[in-house]
């Protein structure tokens, strides 16, 4: 097992329980889709793993190390092993694409090296190779805010991979992208995980998209795991349990509607052009 959560809980100062006693194991190479209504604790769960949010109790075992028990300095060293990809990219907008990718190496280099942008040659090569992998090698010297949404998210992926991670945490990677780009990003993520035998936990609100790309789905409701199984086990009654009563066929239909609307629009644009 690469990652094992044992009895992970988070209670905020306000008294709200975001996570209650979560147990979860993720083996190497597996992509887990984390679904659930907003406020179910998906974001808190993955932030508790690299302790951007401090868990109240429980264990976070990454290999043999309990991340929840580490001091600050040791935590920073361990964070290098976990790559994170964010909703709305979270790139440093005013830095160049290259600097954003190189920032994935921050945990490995000294402050002065990073301050002067003098990274070791191997790091620079790695960054170029990753940019090539995500198809952005020609954009290395552009500023991050000059890129489109899909391009930015690919830079985000390259930054996470620059860490040479053993685990990927992915927080709503497609929330601000259009349906077509969303699929491209999800495909890229699954390919990369397969290439490197990387485990990943992906927060995702788009259930059909999750079913299409991940091997295992975990449903979260009010901070507790209420479903854990393969995508085809995700029946209407299970979805009702996770999200509460809702017409799921309508949502599937919405998705199809959106797809047909998209093709229609593309046809219209082509007609104009």
């Amino acid at each position: 097992m690469m990652l094992r959560l044992e009895g992970l809980s988070k209670t905020y100062k306000t008294g709200d329980t975001a996570l209650g006693d979560v147990d979860l194991s993720v083996p190497k190479g597996q992509i887990v889709g984390l679904i659930g209504p907003s406020g179910a604790g998906k974001s808190t769960l993955i932030r508790c793993i690299n302790r951007l949010v401090e868990p109240t109790k429980g264990k976070v075992m990454l290999g043999d190390v309990d991340l929840a028990a580490l001091g600050k300095r040791e935590l920073r060293r361990q964070r290098r092993r976990i790559g994170m990809i964010f909703q709305e990219y979270a790139l440093v907008e005013r830095l160049t694409v290259m600097e954003n990718v190189l920032s994935g190496r921050l945990g490995y280099v000294s402050f002065w090296r990073s301050f002067l942008r003098r990274y070791p040659g191997a790091d620079v090569q790695r960054a170029y190779r990753l940019l090539d992998r995500v198809g952005l090698i020609d954009h290395a010297d552009k500023r991050a805010d000059a890129l489109s949404g899909g391009q930015r998210q690919r830079v985000g992926i390259a930054r996470a991979l620059a860490q040479d991670p053993e685990l990927l945490l992915v927080d709503e990677p497609t929330a601000s992208l259009d349906p077509k780009t969303s699929r491209q990003i999800m495909r890229l993520l699954t390919e990369i995980c397969a290439e490197r035998d990387l485990p990943a936990i992906v927060n995702i609100h788009d259930v059909p998209l999750a079913q299409q790309f991940v091997q295992r789905i975990v449903g979260l409701r009010a901070g507790r795991i209420v479903f854990d199984g393969s995508p085809d086990q995700l029946t209407q009654s299970v979805l009702t349990e996770i999200y509460g009563a809702e017409d799921w066929d309508a949502m599937r239909k919405d998705d199809e509607d959106q797809k047909s609307a998209e093709t229609e629009q593309r046809a219209r644009l082509e007609a104009i052009a």
């Binding site: 361990q78 290098r80 994170m84 790139l91 440093v92 907008e93 920032s103 921050l106 402050f111 860490q163």
Partner: protein, 270 residues
């Protein structure tokens, strides 16, 4: 028309209560004004006030024509004035940066102790005009350029510190979080997550303050802190009003040029 007869023909903008309060407010303001006026003018010698137009005409007639031959003598003091403003701004900005980081809620190393101290430094520096700082510094370290530079620097801390700490508090939390998640140290998070976000604001604020400082440093000489203000003081003491005109015109020109420069630089930065 008959069908709307049953609607009220009276319409007022405000409810009677708010109207009453509004009137009370205006009445109180007028009363306060009259009272303040009486207190303030208690010691005024009205004969001087009525004599003012004649004085004005007298000074006006002495101010013209301006004595332009005085201009070359002013170039040295003008250079000093620009140096006071520029070096003072640099010094002030250098001191303001740590204060701003200590005052910003999201970067303060100790919100309980250091943050209130930093906020007090900012308020204190902002409340006291650079001329008062200069007055104090001339008394302490003696007249000259140094007093002027330090005065400008001390006054700039508050201005730059306040605007900068607001910029730091407005940074995008997610970008910083992403840098933290890579395993970066505190200093690295600062240099990759926060500094790039505030850098444009930092340069903008600094140049803006430089522009204001040029303006303020022209008068510091009035209290002995060097620059063109010294000449102004000297000319007025000897009642050489035609020289005063030249000095004022030169100050005006300098201020316009510095405003133009600062606007250009800020444009280039954005």
């Amino acid at each position: 028309m008959s069908e709307i007869d049953h609607y009220s023909q009276v319409w007022t903008h405000r409810t009677p209560k708010t109207r009453l309060m509004l009137w009370a407010f205006w009445a109180a303001l007028v009363a306060l004004f009259v009272w303040c006026w009486q207190v303030m003018t208690a010691g005024t010698i009205w004969a001087f006030v009525w004599d003012a137009p004649r004085q004005a005409a007298d000074i006006g007639s002495r101010m013209f024509p301006p004595r332009l031959s005085y201009l070359p003598e002013l170039m040295g003091p003008l250079w000093d004035t620009i140096n006071i403003a520029t070096l003072g701004t640099i010094g002030g900005v250098i001191m303001a940066v740590p204060v701003a980081f200590a005052a910003a809620r999201n970067t303060s190393p100790s919100p309980a102790i250091l943050r209130p101290v930093a906020l007090f430094i900012i308020v204190a520096s902002r409340s006291i005009n650079s001329l008062i700082w200069a007055l104090l510094l001339v008394a302490i370290i003696g007249p000259g350029l140094l007093a002027g530079i330090v005065a400008i620097a001390l006054r700039s801390i508050g201005f730059v510190g306040k605007l900068l700490y607001e910029a730091i508090e407005e940074t995008d939390r997610r970008q910083i979080e992403a840098i933290e998640a890579t395993g970066a140290s505190g200093a690295q998070t600062l240099s990759y997550g926060i500094v790039p976000q505030i850098l444009p604001a930092f340069w903008g604020i600094s140049v803006f303050r430089w522009d204001i400082n040029i303006r303020e440093s022209t008068i510091l000489g009035l209290v002995g802190a060097g620059g063109i203000g010294l000449k102004l003081q000297a000319s007025m003491n000897t009642l050489a009003w035609s020289q005063v005109t030249v000095i004022l015109l030169l100050i005006l020109g300098t201020v316009i040029v510095s405003e133009w420069v600062s606007a250009k630089v800020r444009q280039a930065l954005i």
